[in-house]
């Protein structure tokens, strides 16, 4: 529903501003240009997106994500000490985090939901406990190692090396996940439910 308000807002504001500025003459050609550029964009990112989705399935089958999950688990154990006491929750959390790192969106969401359900079962409350909030924050702060869609957009617009943004993306992601975890740790003091 929020997108309906946003979209309507966008077109209403555009018309009003163009009436005020007298830029109405170019408006209709700009709209059509936008519509056709969407097809160009969609089709040019389709190839890389399909290739990466294919590789994602191979990664799932090959056990790379479960290897990564094992590597990650000492760190995750520190972040989720209570859930790691339960082996089922521990496996789901580490599988969710490693699927996110590898960009396996199709696998990460069901694993994350299963982890959330298991953690809720363990806490037997209707609100989100501290470790659940932390898992949500880690899922909303992107920790994907290779942002393929963005790279595909860059390549479709003629970037010579579409992946040269990777080091910057990694540093940025690290800071935002770190900030999210810190914010969760500070904010939990003001929500003394747990």
């Amino acid at each position: 529903m929020i997108m309906s308000y946003l979209w309507t807002g966008m077109v209403v504001v555009s018309l009003l501003v163009s009436l005020l500025n007298g830029t109405g003459a170019n408006l209709s050609s700009a709209i059509l240009e936008g519509a056709s550029s969407a097809i160009t964009l969609g089709l040019s990112i389709a190839g890389p997106l399909c290739l990466w989705s294919g590789l994602a399935v191979v990664m799932e089958n090959s056990g790379i994500s479960s290897f990564l999950a094992r590597v990650m688990s000492p760190v995750l154990q520190r972040l989720f000490p209570r859930s790691y006491a339960d082996s089922k929750a521990a496996n789901l959390i580490s599988a969710n985090v490693s699927a996110n790192l590898l960009g396996l969106g199709n696998a990460a969401t069901p694993l994350g939901i299963a982890a959330t359900r298991r953690m809720k079962e363990l806490s037997s409350t209707s609100y989100a406990n501290d470790e659940l909030c932390l898992l949500i924050v880690m899922n909303t702060a992107s920790i994907q190692l290779i942002p393929t869609t963005v790279a595909a957009v860059r390549s479709s617009l003629g970037a010579a090396s579409p992946f040269d943004i990777l080091p910057a993306v990694w540093l940025t992601s690290l800071c935002s996940v770190g900030a999210g975890i810190m914010a969760a740790k500070i904010l939990r003091r003001f929500f003394p439910h747990d």
Binding site: M3, L6, W7, M10, V11, V13, S14, N21, T23, L27, A30, E33, G34, A35, L41, G42, I45, A46, C50, L51, S53, V57, V58, N61, T109, I113, T116, K120, S126, A128, L132, C133, I136, V137, T140, S142, Q144, I146, V150, V153, R154, L157, G158, A159, F163, I165, L166, P167, V169, L171, T172, S173, S176, V177, A179, G180, A183, A184, L187, H193
Partner: protein, 169 residues
């Protein structure tokens, strides 16, 4: 180094999978079909959103909005042109893709603004959508501080995207 990352992953992943006697090629095709389905679902929203974004840009509304926010963004060192992207990013993934692609096209993929937009897109997620999916599926009523903490992470990502653009390029 970074140029060899993608070919390296392709080689490594398929070799490990083949060594484990997996049918690599069928897995690739199966995944490719999933990818095509994703493309089909995002193209209609890209069409609607890019039409509206081009309309906004052509009317001059985006420039006026950026000009209005200029003092605050200039203080933080974030390009004010990326403001629409920051607003839409936590709400809709395909809208953010449309706005980000428009920024990259308008100002150039390798421009300061184009790179900042790309890094913002690559290092943040559709926060509200993710929270809704997770809490909805697990039937959790009170999200407590999950939303503010997630938004702090997003904002840090937006801020750091402009810092790292200056740092690396």
């Amino acid at each position: 180094m970074i140029d060899l990352l993608i070919p390296g992953i392709m080689v490594l992943v398929s070799c490990i999978s083949l060594w484990k006697k997996q049918d690599v090629y069928s897995a690739l095709i199966k995944g490719g079909e999933n990818g095509l389905r994703i493309v089909f679902t995002i193209i209609p929203s890209l069409i609607m959103l890019l039409s509206a974004v081009h309309m906004l840009r052509s009317s001059g509304a985006i420039d006026e909005f950026a000009g209005f926010l200029y003092p605050v963004f200039d203080f933080l060192g974030i390009p004010p042109e990326t403001a629409p992207l920051m607003i839409i990013r936590p709400i809709s993934g395909s809208a953010a893709l449309a706005v980000g692609a428009d920024l990259m096209q308008t100002y150039g993929v390798n421009s300061q603004i184009g790179r900042t937009a790309a890094i913002m897109l690559g290092s943040t997620e559709t926060t509200f959508y993710t929270i809704a999916v997770y809490f909805g599926a697990a039937k959790i009523e009170k999200s407590r501080y999950a939303i503010p903490a997630a938004l702090i992470a997003d904002f840090t990502g937006f801020f750091m995207a402009s810092v790292t653009t200056k740092l690396f390029f």
